[in-house]
């Protein structure tokens, strides 16, 4: 099984990016590419679902940070949902949940873009 598999779904105008596995130094370039391809295609409403995320090393947060200003500058946002276990703990410890809006349920994260 590969260290990281990323599926991307469109829910209305929102792209739900669902990484499965580990975001680390080994896989971060693929993770960044998946996100930046959305942004380059003009898709700036992005929800990252943590439902199947096993771990995020700081390089993974670096990839999100590198895109977030661009995304927000274009009227979009990167929002996070479905964090649990150690990954949720990491987000909290880093304070990342204060930099990106975080939701328990994917539907709520997608819904939060409505009217924005």
């Amino acid at each position: 099984m590969p260290e990281l598999e990323i599926t991307i779904r469109s829910v209305g105008s929102v792209a739900v990016v669902e990484p499965r596995g580990f975001v680390n130094a080994h896989t971060v370039s693929g993770f960044e590419r998946a996100l930046s391809e959305r942004v380059d295609a003009g898709n700036v409403r992005i929800v990252i679902s943590g439902a199947h995320l096993s771990y995020v090393a700081s390089a993974g947060f670096g990839a999100i940070m590198g895109l977030i200003e661009d995304v927000r500058g274009r009227g979009g946002d990167i929002r996070i949902c479905a964090l649990s276990g150690p990954v949720a703990h990491i987000f909290r410890v880093l304070g990342f949940d204060r930099l990106c809006r975080t939701f328990e349920r994917e539907e709520d994260a997608v819904e939060s873009f409505r009217g924005s």
Partner: protein
């Protein structure tokens, strides 16, 4: 009865305060006002204590304390000051009539505390107690009527300020109540503070553990990538993730090699390059504000780049420029060390990648040189009736300075073995020159070995460095008669192994070639009879060393030749080579090795 069953069996017992309230309430009305007041205060305190047995945050304790205090003192307001971290106390909560001055209150914790737990405006304070003074000043400043001092041991942990009593209610001044409230609250607040400190410590430890794991993750990643761009990307991701910065660039070798974050950072890169130059000579991560070039600071601030992290590993020098940390985080010295370490590792990875690439290029070049050189050596030994000839050449690097050749000319076979000083490309090029020259000398009719040696000496002396020289044996064989004329120019003496097992060495000749402008020469002669064998070799064979640095030497060479003499020439070469390799063992061969064997077949004479 069903009514009896409606009382919840097994429910938590009522807290003591409720029980006391139930006990005292019916009797309070009948008490005289002073006793009434005391019982009420007592109930409030037990109520407060009981509530504090539940887990509470500092805010919850503060809020409850204010309400209890306000309720029992009938003051117009009550407020709490709590430690703010820098040895001052600041407003933490307030109930009752607002006062604008309240929010800006700041009370520097004095070293000494007054003996009283409660101080009151207008009360006759002992004038000799200087510890009272700061508290009395505070009372005046806050417009408060009394202050209860919360302590933990000898430390000031909070202040409860109580405003003047409500005008329409009876005046109540119960200092002992305030004191009791302060004691109970102080213990609870102290417990909250410790809990919060513990939580903060845990959070910090979690963060450090996570950062350490990330550093290992990135270090491992840097080991894997061979592409420079990927290394710089990883450095940016790691650094930005660590401090939660949203922009960053890497400058190396005077140009921007990687960048993340808003495109506004593109445009002119010159300030970034200038920042790199400004970072030169520094080792630690430092803030942009620490630079003295005012223009540069402005340029970088416009790009929201707050930090410069210089790095250097060999020729790889530059700087990581990083945006301000997210969440207004201050970079502690451990963060700066982390960034410096990360940048240093990335620089080392890039240096490694470059060395790796250079090695591959070099190996390609050497492989090419090796192919060219191998074409200069004889592909096949000459086939002469009555003779069995074989040669072998093993360069210790990809290319070597050993050389051997056979040039047939008329009824003669010119045999050459040579060894150019040194190893590697230089000698290999010289070898090519020798091969071309000697072939030309022989083919153009100069068949006298002494003339050939003199010409070769002159060529090498003129065309090469002063310290470069060559040893060689030039031979001229008449296959029909077995006569060999030879000239040994400072080379390992060839061995003639007679059919009767006697041994002769060929030493006549000259000094080495190329070192002196002129040489004296002598041509030797030996006749090879049927069953005789000639072996010529370079010192790579005799100087092969075993792990104890003992050489293979002539003695072992002759022994091995004798042992193999009944085999064909190719097999004899193979035997000597494997013998030398077995002797050297794990040391492997340290020099180029060349060996030629010429056997005059015994059957020829019969």
């Amino acid at each position: 009865m069903s009514a009896a069953r409606s009382i919840r069996v097994g429910a938590a017992p009522s807290p003591p305060s409720t029980r006391y309230q139930r006990l005292f309430a019916p009797h309070i009305a009948g008490l005289d006002p002073t006793a009434h007041l005391l019982v009420s205060e007592l109930l409030a305190l037990t109520d407060f204590s009981a509530a504090l047995t539940e887990p509470m945050t500092t805010d919850e304790v503060a809020s409850l304390m204010l309400l209890v205090g306000l309720g029992e003192t009938r003051a117009r307001w009550a407020g709490l000051l709590l430690p703010a971290g820098d040895r001052t106390l600041r407003p933490a909560g307030r109930r009752g009539v607002a006062d604008r001055a309240w929010k800006s209150l700041s009370f520097p914790a004095p070293e000494a505390l007054p003996r009283e737990a409660v101080l009151r405006v207008g009360a006759s304070g002992r004038t000799d107690d200087a510890a009272d003074a700061p508290f009395r000043n505070l009372l005046t400043k806050a417009g408060a009527d009394a202050v209860a001092i919360l302590r933990s041991g000898d430390h000031l942990t909070g202040l409860l300020l109580v405003g003047e009593p409500h005008p329409i209610l009876a005046e109540v001044r119960r200092d002992d109540f305030l004191e009791a409230l302060a004691v109970i609250a102080s213990a609870a607040l102290e417990k909250c503070r410790r809990d919060e400190e513990l939580r903060a410590t845990n959070r910090r430890l979690s963060l450090r553990a996570y950062q350490l794991r990330s550093l290992l993750d990135i270090t491992a990643g840097l080991h894997r990538v061979r592409d420079e761009g990927a290394v710089w990307d990883l450095l940016l991701h790691g650094a930005m993730g660590h401090v939660l910065a949203s922009r960053g660039s890497v400058v190396a070798g005077g140009r921007v090699v990687a960048s993340k974050g808003p495109q506004g950072m593109s445009g002119s890169w010159s300030p970034l390059v200038a920042a790199d130059a400004a970072a030169a000579g520094r080792r630690e991560a430092f803030p942009v504000s620490g630079l003295d070039q005012t223009g540069l600071v402005r340029d970088l601030a416009a790009r929201q780049l707050g930090w410069i992290v210089p790095f250097a590993s060999g020729e790889v020098r530059g700087a990581l420029l990083l945006g301000e940390a997210g969440l207004d985080r201050r970079l502690e010295s451990s963060d700066r060390a982390f960034l410096a370490s990360l940048a240093g590792r990335a620089a080392a990875a890039v240096e490694n990648a470059r060395l790796h690439r250079a090695t591959i290029e070099k190996e390609k070049e050497l492989a090419l040189a090796r192919r060219i050189q191998s074409r200069l050596l004889p592909a096949e030994p000459p086939r002469l009736p009555g003779w069995d000839i074989a040669g072998v050449n093993i360069p210790c690097l990809a290319v070597g300075g050993d050389y051997y050749d056979y040039v047939p000319r008329g009824d003669r076979l010119f045999v050459t073995i040579a060894d150019v000083s040194g190893k590697g490309e230089g000698p290999a090029l010289l070898m090519a020159l020798v091969q071309a020259s000697l072939t030309a000398i022989y083919r153009h009719g100069q068949t006298a070995l002494d003339r050939a040696a003199v010409e070769l000496n002159q060529l090498l002396h003129e065309k090469t460095d002063a310290n470069r020289y060559m040893t060689a044996v030039l031979g001229s064989l008449s296959p029909g008669t077995g006569r060999l004329d030879y000239l040994n120019a400072g080379h390992v003496r060839p061995v003639v192994l007679r059919a009767d097992r006697s041994v002769e060495r060929l030493h006549a000749g000259s000094t080495v070639l190329g070192l002196f402008p002129r040489i004296e020469t002598e041509v030797g002669r030996v006749d090879l009879a049927p069953g005789d064998m000639l072996a010529m070799y370079t010192d790579g064979l005799t100087e092969a060393e075993d792990p104890r640095e003992r050489p293979f030497d002539d003695h072992r060479v002759i022994e091995a030749l004798n042992a193999a003499r009944d085999r064909d020439a190719r097999a004899i070469c193979g035997d000597l080579l494997s013998g030398a390799r077995a002797f050297a063992g794990p040391r492997a061969l340290q020099d180029d090795l060349t060996l030629i064997v010429l056997k005059r077949e015994a059957g020829n004479s019969r």
